[in-house]
């Protein structure tokens, strides 16, 4: 019995690195390589959330240090199979992946968007829009322009300036905040009523920032990716 348990433990340890190779997502924008500022990430997040709300197309922007030992094509399709951006059945997801140390990038286009964003267009965006900025070291501007180009290709009515305003998310925040406050006061009430030993001040104040942050995130409209399918469309390039 003990041997079996040890065996299972060992197996889990072996299996773990395989999972660690493909990180989980925390939003539309996942800056695993830490090359983007928080402000930029938030801005891009809002833009992609607004686009998702309008078109249901889900676009994930990912930076990683390296895709080694895989090729960028292999890594991106595996990540796409794991995350599944886009809606199930519509397969309208896109992953824009930037491998910073490898100086390689790829736009992986979901099956349902292959007609709107062809391989040629993807390659064109990578080569002529993103690459010059990346070569100059302007990663944020390159990604921003690239995302705009992708959004315009999918939805010609999309304009970069309109997306800059984040009107839609703020409205949501208000609702999210109200819900949060109700829940918060219920919890506080609970604490006061049922635990005579808990000093009120410390516990309550301590709870605010963390719950606040998570509540705000979920009300941005990101409820996880929807199960879109990929079959290898898109383009790759390097800089």
């Amino acid at each position: 019995m003990r041997r079996l348990l040890i065996g299972i433990l060992f197996f889990l340890l072996l299996a773990f690195p395989a999972f660690a190779a493909y990180p989980g997502y925390s939003g539309y924008v996942n800056d695993f390589a830490h090359v983007l500022s928080d402000q930029f990430v938030q801005q891009l997040e809002n833009k992609l959330a607004a686009f998702d709300k309008k078109t249901t197309d889900q676009i994930a922007v990912v930076t990683v240090d390296t895709v080694q030992p895989e090729t960028i094509e292999e890594y991106t399709i595996h990540l796409a199979d794991k995350w599944k951006p886009g809606q199930k059945g519509k397969d309208n997801g896109i992953i824009m992946l930037f491998a910073m140390q490898d100086r390689q990038m790829r736009i992986e286009v979901g099956r349902g968007l292959e007609g709107d964003l062809t391989d040629l267009q993807s390659k064109h965006i990578l080569d002529t829009v993103i690459r010059p900025e990346f070569r100059a070291g302007n990663y944020e501007r390159g990604i921003d322009k690239g995302v705009n180009a992708v959004l315009t290709a999918i939805d010609p009515s999309f304009t970069a300036t309109a997306s800059a305003s984040s009107i839609a998310p703020t409205q949501d925040n208000a609702i999210g905040d109200i819900i949060f406050f109700i829940i918060f006061f219920i919890i506080v009430f609970f604490f006061i009523a049922f635990s005579p030993f808990t000093p009120l001040g410390g516990y309550g104040v301590w709870g605010i920032p963390t719950v606040w942050g998570s509540g705000k995130n979920s009300s941005d409209g990101f409820g996880g990716f929807g199960g879109g399918g990929f079959s290898g469309g898109g383009g790759s390039s390097k800089w």
């Binding site: 391989d119 040629l120 390659k123 079959s231 290898g232 790759s236």
Partner: protein
């Protein structure tokens, strides 16, 4: 009388168990085989996509007055050969690989002629070809995964008895025979 009823009940029960075992296994084998066939159709769709691109590339190369008759012939032959063999057989996979090696040689020619490579048409064709290649490799990988599940099921105990009875054969994996296909292409910086 009571004993007979009990015996009958036990027989029915065992009969039911055997029936559900056979039925369940048979059905799951069929489901897995259908999954393999779907993936195989997927691979062939993507291969077809590449086939349709290649004549354009050949035309561009010919248009640039490059005399490489041997490669043009090989591509044409491989293409007819592929169309001639039944799908879902090892021969089909072989034919696809044969076409691949001919295509590889055509691409080497394209690389060796800078004036050819610099034209926008050829650039676009190469990009589309890259996309086709990538789709093929994704479809192939998924085909192999579904074949793996099916083959494992067909060959392991006790399913192998039922598989043998109903004629479920192990299916071939889609492996590439060309050695260069296994290595990622080298990154060459322009001088």
């Amino acid at each position: 009388m009571k004993n007979i009823l009990i015996v009958l009940g036990v027989i029915f029960f065992i009969g039911f168990l055997i029936f559900s075992f056979f039925g369940g296994t048979y059905n799951s084998l069929v489901a897995e085989k259908v999954a393999v066939q779907t993936q195989q159709a997927q691979v062939e769709t993507q291969l077809q996509r590449r086939f349709d691109l290649v004549p354009n590339l050949v035309a561009s190369v010919k248009g640039a007055q490059i005399q490489e008759q041997k490669v043009f012939e090989d591509i044409a032959n491989a293409r007819t050969h592929y169309a001639g063999v039944a799908s879902g057989t090892p021969e089909k996979i072989q034919a696809a690989n044969q076409f691949e090696s001919a295509l590889g040689r055509l691409l080497v020619i394209v690389e060796n002629y800078p004036q050819l490579q610099s034209t926008q048409t050829v650039q676009d064709l190469m990009t589309q070809l890259e996309g086709a290649e990538n789709r093929i490799s994704v479809a192939r990988q998924r085909y192999n995964e579904s074949v793996q599940i099916y083959n494992q099921h067909v060959q392991t105990f006790p399913t192998n008895f039922i598989a043998g009875m109903f004629g479920f054969q192990p299916l071939p994996l889609f492996t590439t025979t060309t050695p260069e296909a296994k290595n990622a292409p080298k990154v060459e910086f322009e001088k």
